[in-house]
């Protein structure tokens, strides 16, 4: 039998425990990513070094970047978000606790899948964390490592999307009575905007990854042809890539705001201006991606527009930084460990931010693009501002999470050594403004050696300094000085800095309650990982993965059928969403990400087609009358689904049953016609790999058909449950499914003319 302690951690859905799992796992990935960074720095310490051959160096550089950004920084922030957002808004848990556990386990396994590449011939993904095309294609990166990397990222995207929906619904729907928007604590505000950016930024990455995987596994032509190719990848990747910077930074900045306020015994200065700035920065983050493409050949006016939007970002961030600093004014400033890290975060952000303005200039970019100047700049943001901020949060909240006390003196020593090590490591890189990024070696004639040598010394100091963190946080577990929050409370001062919800006594569900544990998130994530390892082990792994997934999904539905799992009740304060169900709200949020996903696929299609002069006329390929018939079938199913919703609302079980069954049948007809169409096209030689018209057609219609298939299965379940007398009182699921089905219909109404008529 599994030890109950182990079982608890494997099956928990409690937000605090999931939060702790995120924190611990992300620190594990920090260790791996940090080791890779040290290898890179050792190789670069002296010119013409032979410590790490280019083939390994490229893997180390690539995995370092991916792990640090996606598997360390962001998840650490979300560890804190998991733990503290429900506390700050007075919620019992996240809106969908099982999905939250699912997000965590998918995140863990996604990292392991990507890292599996290290242990196979050809090694891990190695084309840089930006995975530029066409270097990432099968021709130039033949090993399975790149496919595994893409698979890991696809899993991570699924995890992130579920998290985004979960946090948005939690924050909008589960606030306790007194937490109106105006009283919502600032960390929660930062998390809210982080998840909103995540919701919009990740789907384009997912679209790009699906296309990359299809190129590598099915021989499609998205990134291997000139019509799509490098520029298409650039657009999709950077639409995600720039916002990703804010996705990792904002949770840290939210925590920094709390820390500064706490250790100066003052409310944060100009909170409303900060939140407005946050909103503006979040919006701007989605319209600046072109600054990564200044010298790819996009036209001058586009480049100038991107220069302006990018420069504008310094306005909201300038307001944030100055407001943070002005919070100290007339406060009582205590330089405890968390405060040192918070102030360190702001200081380093000032340097990272100002140098970022240099990069925003389309003219200066010509000189510094692809050089160590850029490496220095973004490490000041990603490590300086973000990691220092998150470490501040770790020290700040550690006593509250563990009930233990660390040594403040050791913490200060950790800060000072880290701060010195960090600046030794990255400041010299500003002087390497001619040295290309990601080169594994350089000649001594370049004059770059002294700067690199200092940087490596700094890297070693910075790395060793982290031992202090480990010792400081592990030691209390061994020697048990029960702190009872004293470090945390000391100097809460004469004012009520934290909201009531941060009071540790408010939410007491520290243990997983009975009926709130489930092994399914772990099982489903494991199944997904096994499925993707089919990339290495072929059909047996695919099949095994699929069996586990089907078993897990069936069990999930069984749990739902018997109502074995109860989510938390809605909060009393949920303006302006009082009148809709939690499921419906969640579905609307999810649809937003779906619109981005299909939008990316459709934009890619339009981009490719406009770059491809001899695009065949659709009439020559497709059976248009059949397509029209199928469109009619799907529209009709939209009406029957609408009837099902009306009947559900009025509690008419028979009507509902008839309408749901009709919808399911119509959906099945649509799919059958679709499959026969594909079959005929493929027999006529029009396949995904026959050219770009085939690649784009099967991607778009395949993705859509996948949504219809999922819908038909869900409808089958609804029919079954209605037959057995479910859905008499509860109607949230039917309603949210109705939205989903309407969306699937609407997408088809866009796809059909684009692929069959014009």
């Amino acid at each position: 039998m599994i030890h109950p302690w182990v079982k608890r951690w494997l099956t928990t859905t409690n937000h605090k425990e999931i939060g702790i799992l995120y924190i611990v796992t992300s620190l594990y990935f920090l260790f791996i990513g940090g080791l890779l960074a040290e290898l890179v720095r050792i190789q670069l310490a002296v010119p013409e070094n032979n410590f790490l051959q280019p083939v390994y160096y490229n893997q180390a550089v690539t995995m370092h970047g991916l792990i640090m950004v996606l598997w360390f920084l962001s998840p650490l922030g979300f560890g804190f978000a998991n733990y503290f957002v429900p506390l700050q808004i007075g919620a019992k848990d996240l809106a969908f606790p099982r999905l939250n556990a699912f997000s965590y386990w998918l995140y863990l396994f996604s990292g392991l899948v990507a890292a599996t590449g290290f242990f196979i011939p050809g090694g891990a993904i190695s084309g840089g964390w930006t995975v530029y095309a066409p270097l990432s294609s099968l021709q130039y990166s033949p090993g399975a490592g790149t496919t595994l990397g893409a698979a890991g990222l696809i899993m991570l995207t699924a995890s992130v999307t579920m998290s985004s929906v979960n946090f948005i619904v939690t924050i909008l729907y589960h606030r306790s009575k007194e937490i109106t928007f105006s009283k919502m604590p600032i960390f929660t505000w930062f998390i809210l905007f982080t998840v909103i950016i995540m919701l919009f930024a990740f789907p384009p990455l997912l679209a790009a990854l699906i296309m990359l995987a299809a190129d590598r596994l099915l021989g499609t032509w998205f990134f291997t042809s000139a019509a799509g190719g490098a520029i298409l990848w650039d657009h999709l990747f950077w639409f995600f890539g720039h916002p990703e910077v804010y996705i990792v930074l904002l949770p840290a900045f939210g925590a920094v705001a709390e820390i500064i306020s706490h250790y100066s015994s003052k409310e944060i200065y100009a909170k409303n201006a900060i939140i407005l700035s946050l909103a503006i920065a979040s919006f701007l983050s989605l319209v600046v991606w072109g600054h990564h493409m200044y010298i790819t050949g996009i036209n001058l006016s586009e480049r100038e527009i991107f220069t302006v939007t990018t420069e504008l970002i310094s306005v909201p961030f300038g307001v944030m930084v100055i407001s943070y600093i002005w919070t100290l004014n007339k406060g009582t400033v205590r330089l405890a460990t968390p405060m040192l890290f918070a102030l360190g975060s702001i200081s380093l952000f000032v340097i990272g931010g100002i140098t970022g303005v240099f990069n925003s200039s389309v003219a200066l970019d010509i000189g510094i693009r692809g050089t160590y100047w850029v490496v220095a700049h973004f490490h000041y943001v990603m490590v300086g501002a973000t990691l220092f901020g998150l470490f501040g949060a770790l020290y700040y909240w550690y006593p509250k999470i563990t009930g233990l006390e660390y040594s403040d003196r050791a913490g200060k020593l950790h800060f000072i050594t880290s701060f010195i090590g960090f600046n030794l490591l990255y400041f010299p890189m500003f002087f390497l403004y001619d040295m290309p990024r990601r080169i594994s070696t350089y000649s001594s004639a370049t004059g770059w050696a002294p700067y690199n040598y200092v940087a490596t010394a700094g890297a070693l100091l910075f790395g060793i300094a982290q031992l202090l963190l480990v010792l400081n946080l592990v030691r209390p577990f061994v020697s048990f000085p029960r702190g009872a929050y004293t470090l945390w409370e000391r100097g809460a001062g004469n004012i009520r800095v934290m909201t009531h919800a941060s009071n540790p006594t408010v939410n007491e569900n520290t243990e997983s309650e009975v009926g709130h544990t489930t092994p399914l998130p772990l099982l489903l994530s494991f199944g997904t990982a096994v499925f993707f390892l089919g990339i290495l082990f072929g059909i047996p792994a695919f099949a095994l993965g699929l069996i586990i997934l089907i078993y897990g999904i069936v069990r999930w539905f069984k749990d739902d059928f018997y109502s074995r799992f109860k989510g938390p009740e809605p909060g009393e304060e949920r303006w302006p969403f009082e009148s809709i169900s939690k499921e419906t709200l969640g579905m609307w949020v999810f649809i937003a990400s779906e619109i981005m996903l299909f939008g990316s696929v459709i934009s890619s299609y339009i981009f490719i087609r406009s770059n491809f002069p001899q695009w065949p006329s659709p009439a020559a390929i497709h059976d248009i009358p059949l397509g029209l018939f199928n469109t009619t079938v799907l529209i009709t199913s939209g009406f029957t689904m609408f009837l099902a919703m009306i009947n559900a609302r009025e509690g008419k079980q028979v009507g509902m049953l008839v309408a749901l069954t009709s919808t399911m049948l119509l959906g099945s007809v649509f799919l059958s016609v679709k499959f026969s169409e594909w079959y005929n096209l493929i027999s006529n030689g029009f396949t995904p790999s026959s050219g770009l018209p085939g690649s784009t057609f099967y991607l778009a219609t395949g993705l859509h058909a996948g949504h219809v298939i999922a819908g038909v299965f869900l409808l089958g379940y609804f029919v079954f449950k209605t037959l057995k007398g479910g859905y008499v009182k509860e109607r949230g699921s039917i309603e949210s499914f109705g939205i989903y089905w309407a969306f699937v219909d609407a997408i088809w109404l866009v796809l059909f003319p684009l692929f069959y008529l014009v």
């Binding site: 280019p54 000139a226 490098a230 010298i295 600093i325 400033v333 240099f358 693009r369």
Partner: protein
């Protein structure tokens, strides 16, 4: 910066722009750090004489910061747009020499108007506008001459141009600035600038 760089038109414009950003950037950093250090020092816990008060006066401050930042950015954009037009549009189009650059794993191929084709060494005449038409045969590379502050991506299926002018003879280094596989570090070429007669001799002498 270096006196040579200022004689190269593209690098000269680049460095003057960089200096404007640098001065304003350092100034901003000094102001922000001063405010930070002042407040940390003045309101430290042990300073019992400091006035304390928890009123949020956060009304005007953000507006001032936003306006000042916007004003500075407006200036920076103005200078940037001037520089970028200069660096993008080659002067003396007609007298310019057009050379095709094809990047590959891992090197550069230079093709001249007379069909002459050279590997990894770009030879050009001094005091002549050179326009490079850059593409790639395989993966994404980026062609850069750091001393001239010119750079353009080499992308399969696309042609990007850049121009430069060398005021005097000399040898300079050409590098690839985008990760392009295991040979990325070794994708180094040479720019050789000859005076006009020497160049004519070399150019007329056929391929090497």
């Amino acid at each position: 910066m270096q006196s040579f760089a200022l004689e190269v038109p593209t690098a000269g414009v680049w460095w003057s722009l960089f200096d404007i950003y640098l001065v304003l950037g350092v100034l901003t950093a000094v102001v922000v750090f001063s405010i930070l250090i002042y407040n940390v020092w003045k309101y430290r816990e042990k300073n019992t004489s400091a006035p304390r008060d928890n009123k949020d006066r956060g009304k005007l401050g953000p507006v001032i910061i936003a306006s000042v930042t916007l004003f500075v950015l407006f200036g920076l954009a103005y200078y940037t747009f001037g520089a970028i037009s200069y660096m993008t549009i080659p002067p003396n189009q007609n007298g310019a020499m057009q050379i095709k650059v094809t990047a590959f794993q891992w090197g550069w191929n230079f093709t001249y108007p007379n069909g002459k084709s050279v590997l990894n060494e770009l030879t050009v005449p001094a005091n002549t506008t050179i326009v490079l038409n850059i593409t790639s045969r395989d993966v994404f590379h980026s062609f850069g001459i750091p001393d001239f502050k010119v750079k353009a991506d080499a992308i399969p299926g696309r042609h990007n141009t850049l121009w430069f002018l060398a005021p005097q003879q000399g040898t300079f280094v050409i590098r690839c600035y985008e990760l392009c596989g295991v040979g990325h570090s070794y994708m180094v070429g040479t720019l050789r600038v000859l005076d006009k007669q020497q160049f004519q001799q070399w150019y007329g002498a056929g391929g090497s």
